[in-house]
């Protein structure tokens, strides 16, 4: 945009920029710490967790038998915290994986097949965008479709429009096209050029995009669980625990705030690190 000789002067003085770098490193460290706590709980937690069988005295304070006390149903709070992260992490990973596995080929074919296919597919996908994501999950729950499979399917489904658009955009990027034209001219079959090769080139930006969707998916899944429209109430999951213990918020806030805090740390940590990653790439 800027013509020769009219280059804008740097807006920020050098010292401020250096202070900016320090702030950035601090934020990155904060992100790592915030993400590590819930992630460790989710991965290692279940192996260390005490039993979460119901039947103890509800809402007990911390003591020798229950280190963090008990929740509404008399279940051990520490056990709930250590076991409740596995569902969030696994379901998020499963839903994202499914969404990208389906959307990648659609995006690539759409990009390869010209204007008409493109207009129709994107138009259809845009209709999906008109339905707020949480609404889709809740409508499914209202009609009795609330197993893990439905949950993963629905969450993956509402990601589709965004991901297809992204893959299509990346596949049409000029650098990508120029290299592939050469391949086409040497007589490679179209699927090899347009699907396999383009796919390989599109993969890095797609993986970056997937990381930006993590906290959104965690938020969607946990909101559905919190509203009683996600997992079965018997499943041990941070958001389900929050929902079940809402009535105890005034009596023993820790029962609600600790699982909610772990979810907050998971989402906040992910986003701080993703932001850092995006900035390093640009």
């Amino acid at each position: 945009m800027t013509a020769l000789g009219t280059q804008a002067p740097p807006v920020v003085p050098r010292r401020a920029r250096r202070r900016g770098t320090v702030t950035r490193r601090t934020l990155r460290a904060l992100g790592i710490v915030l993400l590590a706590i819930p992630l460790l709980a989710a991965v290692v937690g279940p192996f260390l967790a005490p039993s979460t069988a119901a039947g103890g005295i509800p809402l007990q304070g911390p003591g020798s038998e229950h280190l963090l006390g008990t929740a509404v149903l008399g279940r051990d709070l520490l056990g709930l915290l250590l076991r409740g992260g596995t569902t969030v992490v696994t379901l998020t990973a499963a839903a994202l994986l499914l969404a990208y596995l389906v959307a990648m080929p659609i995006g690539l074919v759409v990009a390869a097949r010209g204007r008409i296919v493109e207009t129709i597919t994107i138009g259809l996908l845009d209709v999906l965008l008109a339905l707020p994501s949480l609404l889709v999950l809740m409508v499914l729950a209202a009609t009795g479709r609330r197993s893990v499979v439905w949950l993963v399917l629905a969450v993956a489904f509402v990601q589709l429009p965004h991901v297809v658009r992204l893959v299509r955009g990346a596949a049409a990027a000029p650098a990508c096209v120029a290299a592939l034209e050469t391949m086409t001219m040497t007589g490679e079959p179209w699927w090899r050029v347009r699907i396999v090769e383009t796919g390989r080139r599109v993969l890095p930006p797609t993986i970056v995009d997937a990381t930006t969707r993590v906290s959104g998916v965690v938020g969607l899944l946990s909101s559905a669980n919190f509203l009683g429209a996600g997992l079965d109430p018997l499943v041990v999951d941070w958001a389900v625990v929050v929902d079940q213990n809402m009535t105890a918020l005034f009596l023993r806030p820790s029962v609600v705030l600790l699982p909610a805090g772990l979810l907050v740390a998971l989402c906040a940590g992910t986003n701080l690190l993703v932001d850092d990653l995006l900035e390093r790439r640009s």
Binding site: A16, L131, P132, L135, L140, A229, V242, L257, G261, A268
Partner: protein, 313 residues
């Protein structure tokens, strides 16, 4: 311009049709028997059959859809299974609360996003810019209900400044400003990041653009340069983003109303889902989807008006 607007309105109408088909498919067409779910495991076969007939589930899908769509055209969304009242009446009562909440959220959100985006955008890479971006990113990432609980714990339980719930209010009666502070704060914090970021990018671009640099060289007051030239450049591309925040705002309304027991359409929807009140669920789903379609339409028309080449039709 007029033809373009016409085409865009046509697309919106098609979207409306597609969305109502989508809602119908979601609620009745997917595998699983709704009547059994509504009545629960203790229902007798007779009860299930009666409800199935009442919901029209014993008739062919095509006939059912035409019936439902016909009702829609007359503004008839059926009657609630729980209260026996027409769904439309139920919605009308609750709409005022949600509209109030949404308007307040937008009134706080837009100036705040523009101010923060503009401040950060004029100092890209500085500590202030990074902290603004990081804070709003974190606020956006955190699930509404979790953030809500933390705020309730702090401001209602610990400090006692604000009420923790709006339970007991009906419509707008009994609702106080204090009750709305936390819900609006949560809605805003969740949407602030994307909008502020978009404004920031626009401001960064315009602030270093040739014509603005030239205006500075001419000796125009910095204030005039920023307010007259930099700011508009940052705000125009954000109109589209503003429309996209509506999806988030609607999702947020569902959670926030449920959390604070605000009697709006969000909590109405959650209640209907929990009591399996199918006609009400359908009605609300349609209302939410319709809002998104209309807001997107308006955003497209507005940004086409502001920058005619911005919209690809």
């Amino acid at each position: 311009m007029t033809t373009r607007a016409g085409v865009r309105i046509g697309i919106a109408l098609l979207q409306l049709v597609a969305v109502s088909v989508g809602v119908f498919v979601l609620t009745t067409f997917l595998p699983g028997d709704t009547a059994e779910v509504v009545l629960g495991p203790l229902a007798t076969v007779d009860q299930i059959d009666t409800l199935r007939a009442q919901l029209g589930l014993d008739r062919p899908v095509r006939e059912r859809f035409l019936d439902w769509a016909g009702g829609l055209l007359h503004g008839d969304l059926g009657t609630s299974l729980a209260t026996g009242r027409p769904v439309v009446d139920d919605m009308g009562d609750r709409l005022s609360v949600t509209v109030l909440l949404a308007v307040l959220a937008v009134v706080v959100l837009v100036p705040l996003a523009v101010a923060l985006g503009c401040y950060g955008g004029r100092r890209p890479g500085s500590p202030a810019d990074r902290i603004i971006t990081a804070t709003s990113t974190v606020a956006q990432a955190v699930p509404d209900f979790a953030l809500g609980l933390l705020l309730v714990a702090l401001f209602a339980l610990q400090l006692g400044w604000l009420p923790a719930t709006a339970a007991g209010t009906v419509g707008l009666t009994g609702l106080t400003v204090a009750m709305l502070v936390l819900p609006v704060a949560i809605l805003v914090s969740n949407q602030l990041s994307r909008l502020a970021r978009q404004v920031r990018i626009g401001v960064v671009e315009t602030d270093t653009a040739e014509h603005v640099v030239h205006l500075r060289r001419l000796g125009l007051a910095e204030r005039t340069v920023v307010l007259r030239h930099v700011l508009p450049g940052g705000v125009v591309p954000s109109v589209q983003q503003f429309a996209r925040t509506v999806d988030g705002l609607l999702g947020g309304v569902i959670v926030v109303e449920a959390l604070f027991a605000l009697p709006g359409i969000g909590s109405g929807f959650v209640q209907a889902v929990q009591t399996r009140d199918l006609p009400v669920v359908q009605g609300y789903a349609l209302l939410f989807a319709l809002t998104t379609v209309v807001v997107n339409l308006v955003a497209d028309l507005v940004s086409a008006k502001l920058v005619p080449q911005a919209v690809r039709l």
